[in-house]
């Protein structure tokens, strides 16, 4: 019987396999950041261990760095301590670090691909659940905890049970103005936050093949939001074209060898998945969340649901709690929900295409009165590229704030937070209670909806803007 993409990549990395024990899996790339690594390095020190493969390890600063005044010392003493601890650890253990101020600094999941370190057929881990992003290249990539970070540092391996396999096949073509973010939010609302649990998911089908690499990263990024171990997309010409000539991409004869191998990384015709979900891309519309988990979403054109709409008792109670937290009335059209802050950024939607898309929509418009629009590039390189293209001018002219790179308002660990009761439309990945700041209320949206919402001050799609003009 044939094998699936994930089975092929998995099998290539098994160092040791014994019945009744997890496989010992080799890790090709270990990404490090300041928040989940200090205790791991501390553990190495305590047991007198070193980093086995510093040459397969790379660190950057992203979670709690400020996006303003990044050339000055970090004001928050605790954040500063974490960043300084990472710098000391990188130095002591010989790990390559891109610190704040460096041209390659940024969100770890934006940095890996843009350096060309993320390649098909690899195993990639990081102490961050959104490591699933790298699966867009046909890699097995997943988030790990700090004990596992220490384990990978010390051994370059991880003990892992082989997950089950699932295919998500998306047939057809996404309609105009509908993006990868809408697709993944739609999927999560169908499966719930636990629907992917225990599976490595392969996204496939015509609609996935048509996506750019950056859009594919958006899809794989949110795999964890429906509980999947990892998300993957088989590498193809789009993937190869993206990687070619990146700083750490294979060169010369090695490029040819690599591509020849990468082309074998597809699910065999006769392979069988443990589970399969089929979606029709044509039915996807701009999609937003109304609740406090990423599965609580509706089409932008719909209204806030009522708890009575849910048959399952747990879901009904969850909906009641979510509506109370979000300060929403059932039946209110989503388009009438006023937004205080729009956040464009994060490892989900903080790449060049996201900024270009949003700039294109907001050009010639102005941010609505009573709404602020925060634009945070995913990496320093994205920021510099956007400035070269003049995108920052478009945002600034429209009244948006143009910031430095980092995780920013995706999670309330740096100065960019929501105030209690403040409501955001956010291109990030989680709308959990307090995620963007204590008492903050988050609606997850696509970059398209974010830009249109900034102009109208209520949840909107670009199509609504023509009405503003008329």
């Amino acid at each position: 019987m044939g094998r699936t993409l994930s089975e092929k990549v998995w099998d290539e990395h098994v160092v040791r396999s014994t019945a009744g024990e997890p496989d010992l899996l080799y890790i090709d790339l270990h990404l490090i950041h300041e928040v989940t690594s200090p205790q791991a390095f501390d553990g190495l020190r305590l047991s007198n261990r070193k980093v086995r493969r510093p040459d397969l390890t790379i660190a950057t600063e992203d979670h709690n760095v400020p996006t303003l005044d990044w050339d000055k010392p970090i004001a928050d003493p605790v954040s500063r301590t974490q960043v300084e601890t990472l710098r000391k650890n990188a130095e002591e253990f010989g790990v390559r670090l891109h610190p704040l101020g460096d041209a390659e600094q940024g969100i770890v999941h934006v940095v890996g691909p843009q350096l060309g370190l993320t390649q098909p057929g690899m195993t990639i881990v990081c102490g961050d659940s959104h490591t699933s992003t790298h699966g867009a290249f046909g890699a097995i990539a997943f988030g790990i905890g700090t004990s596992e970070v220490e384990h990978v540092l010390a051994t370059q391996t991880l003990m892992q049970d082989k997950p089950k396999t699932m295919a998500v096949t998306v047939n057809g073509t996404l309609p105009e103005g509908v993006s990868a973010k809408d697709l993944i939010l739609t999927l999560i609302s169908k499966t719930g936050t636990g629907g992917g649990q225990g599976y490595i998911v392969e996204y496939r089908g015509e609609a996935i093949r048509e996506l750019s690499m950056e859009a594919r990263m958006t899809i794989c990024n949110m795999s964890i939001e429906w509980g999947a171990k990892a998300g993957m997309i088989a590498p193809d010409e789009t993937t190869f074209a993206y990687i070619k000539d990146k700083p750490e991409a294979p060169k010369g004869a090695e490029w040819d060898q690599a591509v020849a191998h990468w082309k074998s990384l597809v699910t065999d015709e006769d392979a069988v998945f443990d589970k399969e979900i089929v979606l029709d891309a044509a039915e996807v519309t701009p999609f937003v969340t109304w609740g406090t988990n990423p599965g609580q979403g509706v089409p932008l054109g719909a209204a806030v649901p009522s708890p009575d709409d849910f048959e399952d008792a747990d879901e009904r109670i969850a909906a009641e709690k979510a509506l109370a937290y979000m300060g929403l009335e059932a039946g209110t059209p989503m388009r009438e929900v006023h937004i205080d802050t729009v956040f464009l950024g994060s490892c989900t939607n903080g790449r060049m295409e996201d900024l270009r898309t949003a700039a294109d929509i907001i050009q010639g418009h102005h941010v609505a009165e009573g709404t602020r629009f925060l634009v945070v590039p995913g990496s320093a390189k994205v920021r510099l590229q956007a400035e070269e293209e003049g995108l920052h001018k478009i945002f600034l002219d429209a009244g948006a704030e143009w910031r430095g790179a980092g995780c920013s308002m995706c999670l309330g660990m740096n100065p960019d937070t929501l105030a209690p009761g403040e409501r955001s439309a956010s291109t990030s990945n989680r709308n959990f209670e307090g995620r963007q700041g204590k008492g903050g209320r988050t609606h997850l949206v696509s970059p398209e909806v974010a830009a249109a919402t900034a102009v109208r001050g209520t949840l909107s799609s670009p199509a609504d803007l023509t009405l503003v003009e008329a």
């Binding site: 040791r16 102490g127 010390a154 509980g227 959990f432």
Partner: protein, 201 residues
């Protein structure tokens, strides 16, 4: 790591589903660089509410948390496990756990016991009727027990064999893996040269 065989302690009914790791410990509490002291961040947002179950004195000294489905979803932060353990919890019982959380639990010595949803409901009802009552979790026989007589609850829980063995033996993963250093070196010798490196000679 301490060996885990059986544990008896005060049970707390956490009647919520989808308790993600941001709820277990908000990001703002993750900034420490040490490995202990995270108990103050545990369920921080909810603990401001006087009616939150952990603020009920009957559950003081609790060590067994009984939670709704999808406990520990979301962010990979291992601090969620540390916060639970620093607070005094040794066991979390739920009908479904987030994958990363469950993995992190096994490594730190927190037992994540997966039971049928009906068992969670029974334990909740029992604990509500008997605040401060104890639950016994026996890893050897994979059973959870509470109460006495005709209303006694006894049921099995799921945990994979390997995690169970490690918890029973109190073994550290890195030590186990380093005993296979030869296998790792042999694997490394076969890696294709086109694979990327982060440092160049």
């Amino acid at each position: 790591m301490d060996k885990f065989t059986t544990h008896t302690g005060v049970g707390v009914p956490l009647r919520r589903s989808n308790v993600d790791t941001d709820q277990i410990i908000p990001a703002v509490y993750l900034k420490r660089v040490t490995r202990t002291g995270f108990e103050d961040g545990l369920f921080a947002a909810w603990r401001n509410d006087p009616s939150f179950v952990l603020n009920n004195e009957a559950y003081a000294g609790a060590s067994v948390l009984v939670a709704g489905p999808d406990f520990g979803t979301g962010s990979s932060r291992e601090h969620a496990v540390w916060a639970l353990m620093d607070y005094g919890f040794r066991v979390v019982i739920s009908s479904r756990f987030g994958d990363i959380f469950r993995g992190n639990s096994g490594k730190a010595g927190l037992l994540a016991a997966k039971v049928d949803e009906k068992v969670v409901q029974k334990l909740w009802d029992y604990l509500d009727d008997n605040p401060g009552a104890s639950i016994t979790v026996d890893l050897e026989s994979r059973t959870v027990r509470a109460g006495e007589g005709v209303d006694a609850i006894e049921d099995s829980f799921d945990i994979d064999d390997y995690t169970r063995w490690r918890l029973l033996e109190g073994l550290d993963d890195i030590g186990i893996t380093l005993s296979h250093a030869d296998d790792i070196a042999a694997y490394e010798a076969t890696r294709p040269s086109f694979k990327p490196v982060t440092q160049h000679a």
